[in-house]
Amino acid sequence: MSVAPKREDYDVVVIGAGPAGLAAAATSAEAGLSTLLLDENIGPGGQVFRAISSTPVTNRNQLGADYWIGADLVQSLRASSAEVIHRATVWSLDRNLDIAVSICGASAFVRAKRVILATGALERPFPIPGWTLPGVMTAGAAQTMLKSSALVPDGRTVIAGQGPLLWLLAAQILRLGGRIDRILDTTTRGNYFAALPHAFAFLSSPYFAKGLSMMREVKAKVQVVSGVTELAAFGDGQLANVSYVAGGKRETIPADLLLLHQGVVPNVNLAMAAGIEHRWDDLQLCWSPVLDGSGNSSVAGIAIAGDGAGIGGANAAIVRGRIAARAAVEALAPAAAAKLAPMATLRADLAKAERGRVFLDTLFRPAPQFRIPSGDTVVCRCEEVTAKDVLDSVAIGATGPNQLKAYRRTGMGPCQGRLCGLTVTELMAQARGKTPQEIGYYRLRAPVKPITLAELAAVPKSEDDVKAVVRG
């Protein structure tokens, strides 16, 4: 592993070393293309295989067999000629395929003939009353601590929300000896019926048996309340209570930690900043890039693989990574493509990996009251803007997220709307009686992650710029 990129130009630059990125980089390098894999974390694995080569958890059952698939992917990557740089934050990508990356506090620019974005997913915002209190965190953050440091909660812990990852996290916490007092399942009852027509495909998917046994394992040890229709966190500067309504009955329980999760959505930040076209996905309730069958986006030369292409899970991500890499090889070194798995085989693999996804998407489609807040509930954390503030601005003429900035500074703080974007879009869509597609999204811009002024000042500049003295 090197510190700075060895070259200025690469055939393929892969961004993100989760399942899709690991598979894409290995495939591209095996075919002989000069390949650079840039990843933000300290080691390979992304979120799902986080700390795969360094986790202190040695009992394989505790994190589950699926987790260890990551080790094989890392193995094939390391056997390839791909250059891999960790702690490398890509903060700019544009339609010329110019990439700016920050590595250990120093920025470098590289250029690629093809870019494969494998930046994965983010947790969907869960803006309930009190979600910004200390003591309320996302399940994903808890899982990060669990995988990288084997840390599990020991205070009074409540997990609320829905989705496969929620059950996986609960199982992992319990196996590592952590404490869970109650699970509040927010899955909408009607979703079970809506999902039924897709159940057959799911029954034959690999997720079915695993999911069922995991839920059984958790339910044996923790009180699970299903059909939760309202949820709020209370406390004076710190979480003290969680209040919920299930079956029309309100209950309030004391808690030190509330873990929230209602699924994941594509991490679109870098892709949108690069100018890639996205569409609103009405089933997954998020923005997804417009892609062709090989993962190619609307910007020539940039492909997207993994959950960033639309949520599909780790197995689909691996195949999508291979497909995008194969397409890059076909474009840049057609002769070398012959030694890779044929596209038809890969597409068949993908169909198999995606089987059952519609069932999961339909079943775990979050209810409106958990996505679209009201009243004093905070929407934009950076600028402390509430749902009511947003609605007031709509009433006097704000038409979309970008226009809203002129009224309320939403999305203009340190996170630049990356945390509140979906909430703002859906809230404004509801208020204006439009679809999220019509309302649109924040225009995201580089730097996709902040860099210091000192770091930017230190990058190499062209002679012309240094000499320029004309002020506009």
Binding site: Q403, A406, Q416, A446, P447, T452, L456, A457, D465, R471
Partner: protein, 373 residues
């Protein structure tokens, strides 16, 4: 069916919105047609400088007129536009630059303009304590300041609408033609007709002028800006440098805006710009040298707005030299924001009264095309 109105304004930037508002105030019923939304491009995303300082002499009267409106902007718009007046300071980094400043102020004084004032090192240090010790002085324009551009442009649009203007956003003006003494313009499924047409379409205005037989030397540019994370308050006035491309402004919330005119690549047809980080790095380096307090601040966002820049760097403002009822208001060349309120007022005077007391005759399109009217 064609809707008859008194005037059609094309372009919902600060200029189009301001002219629309001032037409309403004069009792005229205008329609404003904007292909995206008001303030989508340069007017909504510029540095927000409200600057009389360092302007080209032909546009100084318009700038002074505008300043008077800025100082009472809340009365006009029922919105403070986040306008703050802490002055703007032009910093000379050495004696040669200071000599240029001295000559400039003398020239302005000779013409009767007194808004620019030469300052020595001590006054510079008093106004901008954080500036490097080596700077020998500069020029200050004390009434200048800054405002929030998106908020301002939106406020103009909103007030114009309240006063009766018809506003169409998200539809491009097309099929512009003059027939039977009226200007006809289509906007989506609607069509409008009026005796007056104002071309305030920013980066898109040059094409409209050319299509109407008045081509001008204009290009599309996209000046870049960056905003930082919050840092402790250390500077009040807007600072610009005499010798290097830099403008610098700290907002009340602590964030710092860094600009100066380095250009991105515009992709006008796609409403997109691609940033040039190596040029932005030059700006970062200048700030790094001049303001050590900024070194650990984070760059949170960088962007660029698409606008029109004239070859001679001054706007095209006033009646067409070829068509009756056509007025141009574009090409503000990276310094149009401050002029917006005044230009709208003057344009309404030109349209309604046929003349104005504010000297704008050097800005006309007749500098490229001798009048045929």
């Amino acid at each position: 069916m064609t809707k008859n109105v008194d005037a059609i304004v094309i372009g919902g930037g600060i200029h189009g919105c301001s002219t629309t508002l001032h037409l309403c105030l004069a009792g005229v019923k205008p329609v404003l047609i904007e292909k995206d939304y008001a303030g989508r491009h340069a007017s909504g995303v510029n540095a927000g400088g409200v600057r009389q300082l360092a302007r080209h002499i032909p546009e100084i009267p318009l700038s002074i007129r505008s300043m008077g409106i800025w100082e009472k902007i809340n009365d006009l718009l029922d919105d403070d536009c986040s306008f703050e007046s802490h002055g703007q300071v032009l910093v000379a980094e050495n004696e040669d630059e200071l000599a240029v400043c001295r000559a400039r102020v003398a020239e302005l004084n000779g013409l009767g303009f007194t808004h620019e004032e030469l300052i020595d090192a001590a006054e510079l240090r008093r106004l901008v304590p954080a500036v490097a010790e080596t700077c020998p002085g500069g020029v200050v324009s004390r009434r200048d300041g800054a405002a929030n551009p998106a908020q301002t442009t939106t406020a103009f649009r909103r007030k114009a609408q309240q006063l009766g203007a018809t506003v169409r956003e998200g539809v491009a003006a097309s099929n512009i033609r003059h027939r039977d003494g009226l200007w006809h313009v289509e906007a989506g499924s609607e069509s409008f007709a009026a005796p007056v047409l104002v071309n305030a379409a920013g980066a898109w205005a040059g094409k409209i002028a050319a299509d109407l037989g008045e081509p001008v030397p204009v290009e599309t540019v996209a000046p870049m800006l960056m905003i930082t994370s919050r840092v402790p308050h250390f500077i009040d006035p807007v600072v610009i440098l005499r010798g290097r491309k830099l403008s610098f402004k700290q907002f009340k919330n602590g964030t710092v805006l860094i600009g100066g005119g380095h250009l991105a690549t515009p992709y006008q047809d796609r409403n997109e710009t691609v940033l040039d980080w190596k040029s932005l790095a030059t700006s970062a380096q200048t700030v790094f040298e001049l303001f050590p307090v900024m070194r650990s601040a984070a760059i949170v966002r960088a962007w660029a707005g698409i606008e029109a820049k004239m070859k001679d760097d001054i706007p095209v403002f006033g009646p067409s030299s070829r068509h009756k009822g056509l007025y141009h208001q574009f090409g503000f060349s990276l310094h149009g924001f401050q002029l917006g309120p005044g230009a709208g007022a003057v344009m309404a005077e030109l349209i309604v009264n046929g003349g104005t007391q504010t000297r704008v005759s050097d800005l006309g399109i007749d500098r490229f095309h001798p009048s045929r009217l």
